[in-house]
Symmetry: D2
């Protein structure tokens, strides 16, 4: 299978380069009869898009999405949904500076190795701009999950550099430019961002994404486990270098007696597992963390080579995010929603409406 | 797609329960003309199998694999390879103790929710016994990668509980029962295992898996990135709760100027990226870490409920691994090899033999 | 995707060569809770197997199928089902006669071109023996369809050479060695078969396969249409050179006013469409025809070349079917059942239980 | 997998309704470095589009295709190619006449059964307008096949109603509005079309599609055979009710001694097989035929029912093709090219460059 698709029954396929005429997406497998408008998608696109605050890149894209098919008289028809976002901010820039060199930490070198050539304008297909279509497709999944199963998918920033953030208040997350759930730390984040801007450097981040009201039974043994598919989807986001489910890497130092989630008639007594047991959802909250690397698009000079092997020092000019992890928040939500939606349809397909009167937590 | 398959051009599909008559596997997409014998597979199966040392479960399975098709006159024919391992150690046990309850930390509850019933004998399909077929299929991939591209896939234990292990000496890894690359720590591991045995408890572990000589250009934008597919494959291993590529979660606290891998005419100057840039292999060593939870099969009593909602305290009797992470070493190798092999064939299919004279690290 | 699999949610993957130790199959995606025994599969295997009558090849294989996983306490568990048939009749033959030449009309030449080598024993993977596993897998689908939706899949011979056969009496089909539904023509078939035996030649055949009680709504626009998937499945059977849905090639000479199926309150007034409109089942009987070529394994000498380019005349000795089309009857049923089952699960996954009170025919 | 995609390594996914704002397509898996312009696609689109002659529907669509991604500096980059055609001829029609009834012979009834609702404007997703994107995607495949392997894919009309057409002169095919290869019969076709126009009726057709210079070795045993995938692709075209490979249904009446293609040092002595043996290309010309039903969009009144079960007589007004089979010619080429391209990449992926010095026909 070519690589620009994700999902089985709910399947998202995307195209588009940073500086091409448009980005697009086909969302296949959306059940019929779901109310859907462009406004439903625009909200999450606005949360993701650059230029939203002074902390993210100043590219000015309205990211206005159009629904080109699959919706009739306000509801989905069950056929494939075509989405399109035109790139309006394709400044006719001079790319001669980066055309013939491989920016360190970027995909320039690997794309050139893979394909023998590359679209060097703004990273081409490897640009994070590609994630706009993920967010648009994910918004469809989020709406379906919410409307048909009251499943809620949310994400927030849980660490930036050395600043840990507690998930204290979900309501706060949309009230600040960092998607920060920890009101007491907002000033510290602000300070760090200013310092990075001044230094021309960047910093990594951790994002936590959760889903509530996920019914038990989603996920397939043994390879298409729910957690494996979540790991795939989240690791496919630009800059992500690690994925955890539940306690994640903390389990290494734990005892079995401490890590297993005991069950009483009141339900599970803890959620170390992050809502997945044996690859299948348990009905508890799904919890995943991702680690995002600091962007390599910085003005601190870095060594690299040109296509013909000359060594140069380079800096990345232009639009610049000191912490790309912030914008990963809506993207992580989108990816988790896409995976859950796909497994919901698969479970319904294979097992119909299995619901057994078991005690649940 | 039903969930018991992994890979696209190189595709592995498995079946089998812990206490059924046999485990099996179909490996589809192996190129023709590769010498292959059962002995090639048996070596890794022996490394994985229980009862190898006093530290792993005492189930006595020879795990003797048979090649049933796809090999003729000692070489692969290009057609699907059928593999079979008979379960010889199906003791006619009394399962009445676990038949009607959900062992905490196991998949009993989620399988029952998903399917409405379950094979309760030894965990059925959710048993780690299933991983034997992954190892057998992975051995085919390892052989192909080694023989055709000199790609070497290796793994070792890099932490158990609070004991960190340095990758000091790969030669040591096969010389001790822990796959430990740090000779000075073997006694500490031994001591911890004895203590856990006595307590009837278990501990988590970290495993590192690497691949050398991987050509640049493997991996597909944007969803089927090499790192995303690695994350999927590794997270699908029983008990894995976290996956890192390269620096993994350490990137959160790093600066961009520190994290990006600079390039000189001598090649890359560091490998924070773990051999993947923009989802595509860079030609550097591929590096991944996984976190394995402590097994819940312990004799420390734990609370749970029965199918009819009665609360009980239970202990897991019988065969028991204090650290299942140890046995994950050959499994992690197998999964990485399967992903690399699949992407190697995909790259060859889409791009043929792209090789450009670039300076490499 | 490697080529030894078929289906999406209901997925069948097979392995095995004509003269290897065994044939096998993994059936993934079977819903849980369906009663299933080896006897359920054996019935169709016995209908397919050689040596059943004096008219089919005299290979003596009991074709005894074993269920190795996915069934517990008599019912399916929802996990992958492993099936195995051991090859008991691997006579240690002398293959030197065909080892180095390409039998005309066989896959010898194309396999050698594709793979650079081939298993020459009895055709290896290209042997019709491979269809035994299709029949076994199809029997699972047939049972599921019958039990859960009262869907009945049946096939019969509708032409052999110049002898057309009317579908007069389905009850007769299992009562004669030709799967012939036209009692008056059985003697003519018998006579033709005797003549062919004497001549050492073979003849083509037409098989019709139908499904009743298929609910409307199965099939996906625009590529995975139900009729397109049926065409794929039926054309994948050895020796099939043509597939028709409904009126098939007769539509070429028809007028639109004659071909369209009118609808009244009593339902559809005809079934020229063969139960599929716009790629989606209409609730009418699904009707497909296939054309099977005469086998090339005959004793009439034929010209060919050896691997090193020498011209030779050859005859195919040994076991021999004058009309392989006869044995295609249970195989065609199996393939149609596999496609219907897959689309049934897909429809349930995507659209749940859509049932609108429309007048039906 | 949702149904709007076809192919594995070369994968085409489409969207769009007859009267929506646009049609679109993502072509994934195109190797890098292939020169490609919109003009390359426009030629085939113009051959397919309605209004080209007085014999096809008078819908006036320029069908102007835009390439939105995947091409940079005139060549493909290896990333996904987004294509878009805006629907300019969406007359604001009154659909009240067909909104609540099921046109006989159309997909109205089955779409409504499948989805519970439908886009009734011009057939929505079930309209043949969808095939424009197939032609655009197929043009990419045709260009790649021609440029890299000199493979030529062509089709022509070989029968309309009772008028058989011989493939006498390929050069003639593009010189007449019927894609007719038989100059002597053009007047007869013309006459039949006029008569049908007058009667308000329609007629079926047969189209033959061939590919030359296809290398041997394409196709995968046992399900993804080249002929099975061709059958799938061709049967997925609107109005197709039958598919033949090589001699097709004529094999039923043939003897094995007559049907098998003998081989001499000069190569194959005939091509009854249509270029496929055992599901794998033989290096001979690939030959397939399809049967297209007469369109049901005619002005001869037909009986049907409304959504609420009332019986009505209806006629289909507006744009109207007496023989939709004519326009299937470029579509059939496109579908064959898509399948060949996919298998070419798969063969290269799995088997690399297998070329053995065998005598070929």
């Amino acid at each position: 299978m070519a690589g620009n698709s994700i999902g089985q029954l709910f399947r998202v396929t995307t195209f588009g380069e940073s500086h091409g005429p448009a980005l697009g997406c086909i969302v296949d497998g959306v059940p019929p009869g779901i109310p859907l408008t462009e406004a439903d998608l625009q909200h999450d696109l606005d949360r993701r898009r650059p230029g939203t605050s002074r902390y993210t890149t100043q590219r000015r894209e309205p990211d206005r999405v159009k629904i080109l098919s699959g919706v009739f008289e306000g509801v989905t028809t069950g056929t494939s949904i075509g989405l399109l976002i035109e790139n309006t901010d394709q400044r006719s820039q001079d790319y001669s500076a980066i055309k013939d060199l491989f920016r360190p930490g970027h995909a320039d070198y690997t794309y050139e190795q893979k394909y023998g050539l590359r679209d060097y304008r703004g990273g081409g297909r490897s640009s994070a701009r590609e994630t706009a279509m993920r967010v648009a497709a994910g918004a469809i999944a989020k709406k379906y999950l919410a409307q048909t199963h009251a499943i809620q998918v949310r994400a927030c920033l849980t660490r930036m550099g050395d600043i840990p953030l507690e998930v204290i208040d979900w309501a706060q997350v949309e009230q600040n430019p960092f998607f920060c759930p920890d009101p007491a730390r907002i000033d510290a984040l602000d300070e760090l961002m200013r310092a990075l801007k001044k230094e021309g450097d960047s910093i990594g981040a951790k994002v936590t994404v959760v889903a509530d009201n996920v019914p038990p039974g989603l996920g397939e043994p043994v390879f298409d486990r729910l957690d494996a598919d979540i790991a795939h989807a989240l690791m496919s986001i630009n800059a992500v270098k690690g994925v955890e489910i539940g306690d994640g890497f903390d389990v290494i130092a734990m005892r079995g007696s401490e890590n297993r989630d005991e069950i009483t008639r009141a339900g599970f007594q803890s959620n170390h597992a992050g809502g997945v047991l044996g690859g299948i959802s348990s009905g508890q909250q799904i919890v995943a963390n991702i680690a995002l690397k600091p962007t390599s698009s910085i003005t601190v000079p870095g060594r690299t080579v040109t296509r013909d092997g000359k060594e140069v020092d380079m800096i990345t000019r232009g639009r610049h995010d000191p912490c790309v992890g912030i914008r990963a928040v809506p993207i992580a939500e989108a990816m988790l929603a896409i995976v859950l939606m796909d497994h919901l349809l698969r479970q319904r397909g294979q097992n119909g409406d299995v619901t057994i009167p078991l005690p649940r937590g």
